[in-house]
Symmetry: C2
Subunit: 570 residues, 2 copies
């Protein structure tokens, strides 16, 4: 037998018992007559004690060989500990060791396994199996396991059926790139790895499964950013005969239940904001609402005042930085420099300072009278000591810039209460936008998203004005999930497809799906959550990589197993 | 609102309520003054009734357009049904329809959606979303979802942690073929799709996770047989500090719990038989023990009797077919013909009939005296009316042949009680066998399986005699799962690797793993179950394909989406 108890299990009630423990050597303290040795496993740490005088020569020799992180099996008697350790659950007891077996040695480690010692990532990833021994990382994977369990329980209780859809599918003309898998049987032909189960879950609704879910690996062959992985996990759901409000209600409750079950956090009801409003108010469709500092559009107040920069701009907007009377010219220059580094097309940042003495200081006071500047301050709700930061130019650029600036200031000025979660639904995305480079329509969600009935009449003439039955869940500035009510009408789906695809592509790729719509397709809708990101959010972490057991690095490489690699057949 | 209730929900207590239902048209009966219409969804069937006299013209016209499998939303009043239908849960009520909305039409179906109508598989697969509407298929996927839930609950309660391992890994020199995925970033390099999480789950044990599981898609680019799919699902588990008996006990209970929870079936304790014994007794390592008819080796009774065929054979074995007095020469010839069709290297089937009158009839009575034949009959426990069927030749061929024959006879003679499940553990597989074609060692389980301590001394000189700490779970002749205690010692692992790989391969493929073994690797072991096959077993079905929502056909093709396909980029 390798153990009677785990290393986190023994208590005062076990005193006098003969026990067998197995675990890793955590600490060794040799104090002459007595040797202490802590062993650990997933469940805890237990202190072993060796009275040298009682030890047989053989055992003493063995102990000398033991290195940290070696694996031992010991048998011994549970004793009451004189100097209790209140920091560990087994702190009331220790084991007087009778026999010891070294199950495996550990050679010197490439890095010390302590939470605080963060070696360069490449070394950590090469020895990921040791990196995972760090309690901080270890616990992140346990948390992930718990998240998945809680969500599954919730969905199972709500009559959802877990169904696996194929991963090896057909190459589709979607935006982001897919991994191709050559077929051995059919020469020259390929499968592709699915990017999501979208089409299949809709087919399952046509089959009548009513409520489907799957927690599933998806694949995307993108150039990787810091929070992307070539393989990532989605919580993928679809329901029939539900309207948008029903779906939002259900999944809002799912996430509330998750936060409460996992962290005892009660989330407020989720705000609902339309895409147009959220972009106007926060410059982004995934705003962090843990602080306000919203955008204020100044167009009507500053245009036609013969300040050419403003007159030529599509949008002039500002944010009001509260209590920023200590903002020097230098700080504002640094903010401008920061914005310039962000690869946005932006003009110079303009400021209007409302000094504590009531005077106004501004980089545009040559062009505007104080009365106008005061008007702007007042319009943006500025008080004495506040500063307006203004950007002007193309609407999209101005909003992006202010959104980035807003976040930076919130972090710099410590405006974010890191212990809160602020959830919202962003709804009513446009059905399409125009790619500036190709001048083609692209889908904001995907091609299966249904237009709202109220804007359907615009589809033929003004497709960019058509609003869709879509929704994103955003918490603390992170898009956690997104979905829509799908199109269930063949004719409408065909019309939408035609916005994005030529006839040949459409027929090749989607004929089977349009055909499926002809055999009694129910109204349906769904959502997909990014599990990796949800884990990071719940852990208040910036990187998803620590929530993945064996992640790939920024260039898609697994440094431990050295993949991808050249193909060498034996 | 699309529904207030599902189509399986309304009862007598709802009488008088105004309800909204949505569902598919199942049956239409127009009897002049009254029209009945059944609508269905996942949850059940509800009868709608239209009194023509009460109908507005508009509604009447709508009803005329309705086709089977169209999707309706109706509102109406729940009435007590005069002629109850005891076959459905809603059989006490019907709905008097006030309004109807046709949510989607269905055109004429490519086949009728009835459980009994089994069209050719290619048509069913092309319209799999309609095929799935058949209750018999539909329920199989619901059962699969339940199986997964029960197993997850069991493992979660036992402190297992669900951890995802990478699917895009490095190409490995294992036996069966893997799918390769070209990397876009690293020109000329490939990932491969994992065939199992084996290496990663062992690394997780090195990390200290103690108990791991994952229900995960795996991939194998094999020529497909009837019960294989290029993507299949494993229930993959690993535990540290457990001995084989602990692991067998735990997973035996997991399967017992599954059978009881799902089907209220109490499985007996699992028999344990060694690989050598099971091969000798049943000719296969996955015997169906719902019937006996075991193999009896006759070598010592028939050799050196100057019958050359036997004298030249490595093995002469038989099965005893009870009460087979009606077996004619023709039947035995048919059995011989059946064996010949099986691509086995077999000599002609020999019989010894013990006639009811005590006389003996045999195809070898020219070579053996009746006294010897009687001796054989007695040795094989034959009674009057029984028949011995004998095969001779190379041991492996004889056993394979008798094993196949045993199964055929059991089916032909109706010896199998289809309502029972007979589980066993086959243990102690050899660590290696020799491939007759290449004359190289190949692994029976895999390269990480530990030899039993008792046979370790044979490793250098007689590797084929080394017995491993391995186990397969077999139920009703199906291998449901398999695993082993793994090697946790670096030196031993290196020795085993050397049996199978040359130095260069070994270093390239496994250096990182051997290195991982040097940092405190705990004793560990695990198992993987084939989920698809487990579903088929529990449903007493021969094919796994009906338990997969969107399976590929025998040549790895998805007929619905037409994958794989040629690569056409837009």
């Amino acid at each position: 037998m390798l153990r009677t108890h785990t290393c986190g299990e023994l208590r005062l009630k076990n005193i006098g018992s003969l026990v067998v423990l197995s675990g890793w050597v955590y600490k060794i303290r040799n104090k002459g007559k007595i040797i202490w040795l802590d062993i650990k496993d997933r469940y805890g740490i237990t202190q072993l004690v060796f009275q040298k005088i009682l030890l047989k020569k053989k055992l003493t020799n063995k102990i000398k060989l033991i290195t940290k992180e070696s694996v031992l099996k010991i048998s011994g008697i549970v004793l009451k500990r004189i100097h209790k350790n209140i920091n560990i659950a087994t702190g009331n007891i220790e084991i007087e060791v009778l026999d010891i077996k070294i199950l495996n040695y550990s050679k010197a480690l490439p890095f010390i396994i302590e939470d605080k010692v963060d070696k360069v990532e490449s070394l950590r990833m090469k020895y990921r199996y040791l990196d995972l021994r760090k309690k901080a990382i270890f616990n992140k994977l346990i948390m992930r396991s718990n998240i998945v369990r809680i969500i599954r329980d919730y969905l199972n209780k709500s009559s959802f059926i877990e169904i696996e859809t194929p991963i090896l599918i057909k190459s589709t003309p979607e935006g982001s790139r897919e991994f191709l898998v050559p077929s051995r049987i059919y020469s020259g032909q390929f499968y592709s790895l699915h990017q999501s189960p979208q089409v299949f879950k809709q087919l399952l609704m046509i089959s009548g499964f009513d409520k489907y879910y799957q927690i599933v690996k998806c694949f995307r062959d993108e150039d990787l950013r810091s929070d992307r992985q070539p393989e990532f996990t989605q919580i993928d759901c679809e329901m029939s005969f539900m309207e948008r409000k029903d779906i939002l209600f259900f999944f809002e409750n799912m996430i509330k239940n998750l936060f409460f079950d996992l962290k005892k956090i009660k989330l407020n009801n989720f705000l609902k904001i339309s895409y147009l409003d959220v972009k106007k108010k926060y410059g982004t469709d995934k705003p962090d609402l843990r602080f306000d500092m919203h955008l204020v559009q100044l167009n009507y107040l500053v245009k036609i005042k013969k300040f050419k920069n403003f007159d030529d701009s599509g949008e002039i907007s500002c944010i009001c930085v509260k209590n920023s009377f200590s903002f020097s010219k230098k700080i504002i220059d640094q903010l401008d420099f920061f914005l310039k580094s962000k690869d946005l097309k932006l003009n110079k940042l303009i400021y209007i300072k409302y000094l504590l003495n009531g005077k106004i200081k501004s980089s545009i006071n040559k062009f505007f009278k104080d009365s106008i500047l005061l008007n702007l301050l007042s319009f943006a709700n500025a008080n004495l000591g506040d500063t307006l930061l203004i950007l002007y130019g193309e609407s999209e650029d101005v909003r992006n810039g202010l959104s980035v600036l807003r976040l930076k200031l919130a972090n710099d000025l410590n405006l974010i209460n890191k212990n809160t979660f602020f959830p919202l639904w962003v709804i009513d995305f446009p059905i399409a936008e125009k790619d500036k480079k190709t001048n083609k329509y692209t889908s904001l969600h995907h091609f299966f998203t249904s237009p709202k009935a109220s804007s359907l009449s615009l589809l033929n003439k003004y497709p960019l004005s058509v609003v869709s039955n879509s929704y994103d869940m955003v918490i603390n500035g992170l898009e956690i999930g997104g979905g829509s009510i799908r199109i269930h009408n063949k004719i409408l789906q065909n019309k939408i497809f035609k916005l994005f695809f030529d006839k040949i592509t459409l027929s090749r790729e989607f004929d089977f799906l349009l055909n499926a719509f002809s055999y009694g397709c129910p109204p349906h809708g769904g959502i997909a959550f990014g599990l990796d990101r949800l884990c990071a959010l719940l852990s208040k972490s910036n990187s998803i990589r620590n929530f993945i057991a064996f992640p790939k690095n920024n260039s898609g490489r697994d440094l431990m197993i050295n993949a991808p690699s050249f193909f060498l057949k034996n």
